[in-house]
Symmetry: C2
Subunit: 202 residues, 2 copies
């Protein structure tokens, strides 16, 4: 069983992925991937992180808790990172029994027929989620946050669309799309896990 | 509990709706609605059916089992039918505890905060589903079927978009979007029902 979770920034995709992994007793890959890639490519981890998050098209000095990439002054050898990323994700796919959040794993692992989830939410909900998780020292207006959401998701889209047939966020890419606006994610995880068990059982 | 099911033609949205209604012991509204509307508006039922399916923008002589509208030679007083449709769907919403398939109920009942599902599938899957359900006498090429899908869904979109803020098929409209390509709908209904129970419980 392989589950991929693509998500709008701030929608709780990471929480969905982690809780599903716990519920289904699967390995969970997210930020750890970045470390692996950095180790395999001799690239600086924070730089790699930045590339993976935004495709090397833009850097951010913004921090929303752990989700935000670091800023790197280095110019982007994007190709090296993407090649390494694909190699590592394929190795993870071969092992199987995992949840992978982001990193275009839905496309990279398509031959393994993963269950592909897309997590999204409305703007108010994403702002509230980010504020709840941000360090106390962080103060941004709603407008600033929405601008960042757009840029970060835009970076994800660009990276994904280098690889994908259907655009990032297009329903044709996914087996299920979940709107987390007003959703108690924890409460629905057992039912969601059972849905996926039914779909993926032989 | 109110569940609305919007769906691409041929994706099995009606099956999802009916089975959910059975599982959750809810009233189920679909084609029956048309009869109600016809009774309340003194319009001819087959004509009303045609208007509701395609918004009066076009008529079809095509038949895919029960899903297809009849053809009417009458010119279209669309507004009468739409007004009657809204009145009836609102009455149904007020009663609650129901599943409504199509008819823009997701928008019309938005004040009741229904759980809004969108059901979709890839073209091959929709063609296979329609062929399995078509009368033996019906013979259309894939190309003909795809053209009809596009026209029927286009009609649904037009009707929906008269009322909706977000376009038909846009994820922002829905709480969950389900891809039925290769899906055993029956097998996932209990899990889906449980998900909705969790979301809608006070």
């Amino acid at each position: 069983m392989i589950i991929t979770v693509s998500r709008q920034f701030g929608s709780g995709g990471r929480e969905v992925g982690k809780r599903l992994a716990d519920e289904l007793n699967l390995l969970y890959y997210d930020r750890e991937l970045v470390t692996d890639i950095a180790e395999h490519t001799d690239l600086n981890e924070s730089y790699v992180s930045s590339v993976l998050e935004n495709g090397g098209f833009k850097n951010y000095a913004f921090t929303f808790g752990r989700s935000m990439p670091f800023v790197s002054p280095t110019p982007a050898p994007v190709t090296d990172v993407l090649v390494a990323q694909q190699r590592i994700i394929k190795a993870i796919g071969e092992k199987g029994n995992c949840v992978i959040v982001g990193r275009s794993a839905d496309v990279i692992l398509k031959d393994y027929k993963p269950f592909r989830i897309f997590v999204y939410a409305d703007d108010d909900s994403k702002i509230a989620r980010c504020r709840a998780r941000a360090p106390e020292t962080e103060h941004y207006t709603d407008k600033q946050m929405l601008k960042q959401f757009k840029e970060i998701d835009g970076g994800r889209k660009k990276l994904h669309d280098l690889l994908g047939v259907h655009p990032w966020g297009d329903k044709a890419n996914y087996d299920m799309m979940i709107n987390t606006t007003n959703l108690d994610i924890k409460a629905v995880i057992p039912a969601l896990a059972e849905y996926i068990r039914q779909v993926t059982k032989k």
